[in-house]
Symmetry: C2
Subunit: 300 residues, 2 copies
DNA sequence: GGTATTCATCGAATTTTTCGATGGCAGGTA
DNA sequence: TACCTGCCATCGAAAAATTCGATGAATACC
């Protein structure tokens, strides 16, 4: 049977609770019954605590086990600790209605225009106390996640490394945006006529290359842009009443389509828009809620 | 090998410390080395914590184990708890110089006169911040100890019931106190001359009977007191220049012996003056100090 | 004085934890 | 690409800790 382990770090919460019950009942036997264990198990654990704290903790005085002063001190802290354990065990609850946290979303122009407005509105409706921050994902959105600068990343980012999870929101492709009066506005664009257009090229910089360009270059072609812009902002104004053509994600084109026309692109550069998050936020209730919300608002 | 125990109360402080070390080092293997245990033991304990908290706690992100938000919360409380454990383990230290506690001593007239002055002076010298309270022990000093009304009991109380400890301070006996001019002041008192004296009887009440009286009555005698007093206070004034004789503990007589004479009593009713304390104070540093102090000042 | 409780202790049984070895996975390197 | 290498999960066996039921000693209660 051997002596109980006198190493204090081997004390567990069951032992602290046992101390509490023995103190409450003033009896080892009664405590054993209450805890549904054998009386000798109570003796064993008390012996262990006695060895750890170098104090008898309980002494018999007229039929009752009475606690020493030291025991009272230890018990006071034990009660605190048992309370803290209960708090720790509390499942990670998240109540949108009362939450006041901040969420940070990393994304780029496309998502800011097409997803963020609906997302912000949904967050404000479901969680009025929360604040939203949007930061540029650029090409290194994954780093933002790792550095905890962002809670989620939305965009055309395939899940690559480990340490991340992702969920595909929807498929997207590139299409050609041009003035409704453009000569080729109502024809089907073949490769040659496409390549010969007066292109507006969106170059986000930072080494990012749009999928349709990769597809086009992989097929051995090249386009000579007439205008290069750093983002699609103001693109509609640029194209309207001109002979310029921009190749942009289809939904972005549709968003601009008041006086413009959208045509299929021979190099559609299909890609997935995904929601990406760091593994360390995977189990968090708030993050699960946020991801579900993003999924919902991204449904067509 | 079986699954780890998912009962939260089986979590011990070693597990919380392991959590701390893993968090600090970002690696199970490194934590195992630091803690001088096998890596699989670390995995085992982390698996247990994961099961208890229903959270992965650590996820691999780019070669490093990164903590989840939940893990951070749990860790924060764990650190607090580890701190509290350290406090609890602190041996029950007592520093007289800085102590500000109160000590309560239960005793009766005899000890208040013969021991308390020296004790109070010793306490004031060694522990200037402490306060002393003296309460009457009467006949039920043991109850005062059990009720925590007194820290120690000093007096002619044999250790009787369990739940108490005691230490014999010294032996005492009764002697006869009379005026130095009393006719029998210089003769040896035999039983008959003793019984025929004009006795002053101290009757403390409460059923307490002095040892010499028990001895005398056990021998089939009886005395007819001339004066009955409830305590020896003022006894000297009463006896001086009178033919009265009081039978009192010898040291009490000596304390009064300015103009009085002490004679051996044929019924010395020897008894021990003891220090008695409740078992629940046995291990307390303050109480040990107090008891040692009382022992010292009671040396002749 | 006898009887019933209560806690400590014993040996055996059980459970938990640790160990050493192995396998899968991801990262870094040739 | 393909191979190492380091890291964690898992396995079976071994060790350690805990629990059990029984018994003994001390004490409270008749």
């Amino acid at each position: 049977m051997a002596q109980p382990n006198a190493d204090p770090s081997s004390i567990d919460f069951a032992a602290l609770n046992l101390l509490r019950v023995v103190h409450e009942l003033g009896s080892f036997t009664a405590a054993a019954e209450k805890l549904n264990i054998n009386q000798s198990a109570v003796s064993y654990t008390i012996a262990k605590l006695r060895a750890c704290f170098h104090d008898p903790l309980f002494v018999r005085e007229g039929g009752r086990q009475v606690s020493t002063d030291r025991c009272e001190e230890i018990l006071a802290r034990s009660l605190q600790m048992l309370g803290m354990l209960d708090e720790m065990l509390q499942p990670d609850a998240f109540d949108p209605g009362s939450a006041t946290q901040n969420v940070t979303i990393a994304c780029n122009y496309y998502e800011r225009v097409l997803l963020i407005p609906a997302l912000v509105s949904a967050i404000r409706r479901e969680a009025p106390g929360m604040t939203v921050k949007v930061i540029n994902a650029l090409g290194d959105g994954h780093l933002r996640l790792l550095n905890r600068e962002a809670d989620v990343l939305v965009g055309p980012f395939a899940r690559s490394e480990s340490g991340f999870h992702s969920r595909r929101l929807y498929a997207e492709e590139y299409a050609c945006l041009m003035d409704a009066a453009h000569p080729l506005a109502d024809t089907a664009l073949d490769i040659d006529s496409y390549l010969g257009l007066n292109h507006v090229l969106i170059d986000y910089g930072g080494g990012w290359q749009s999928a349709y360009l990769r597809e086009l270059e992989a097929a051995g072609h090249r386009i000579a842009p007439v205008v290069i812009a750093p983002s699609p902002a103001g693109l509609a104004t640029l194209i309207v009443e001109s002979d310029l053509v921009a190749t942009v994600p289809r939904r972005l084109g549709e968003w601009n389509s008041d006086r413009l026309k959208i045509a299929d692109c021979p190099f559609p550069g299909r890609f997935d828009v995904s929601l990406v998050w760091a593994a360390h936020t995977n189990a968090s209730a708030m993050h699960r809620w946020l991801r579900e919300l993003i999924w919902r608002i991204s449904r067509p």
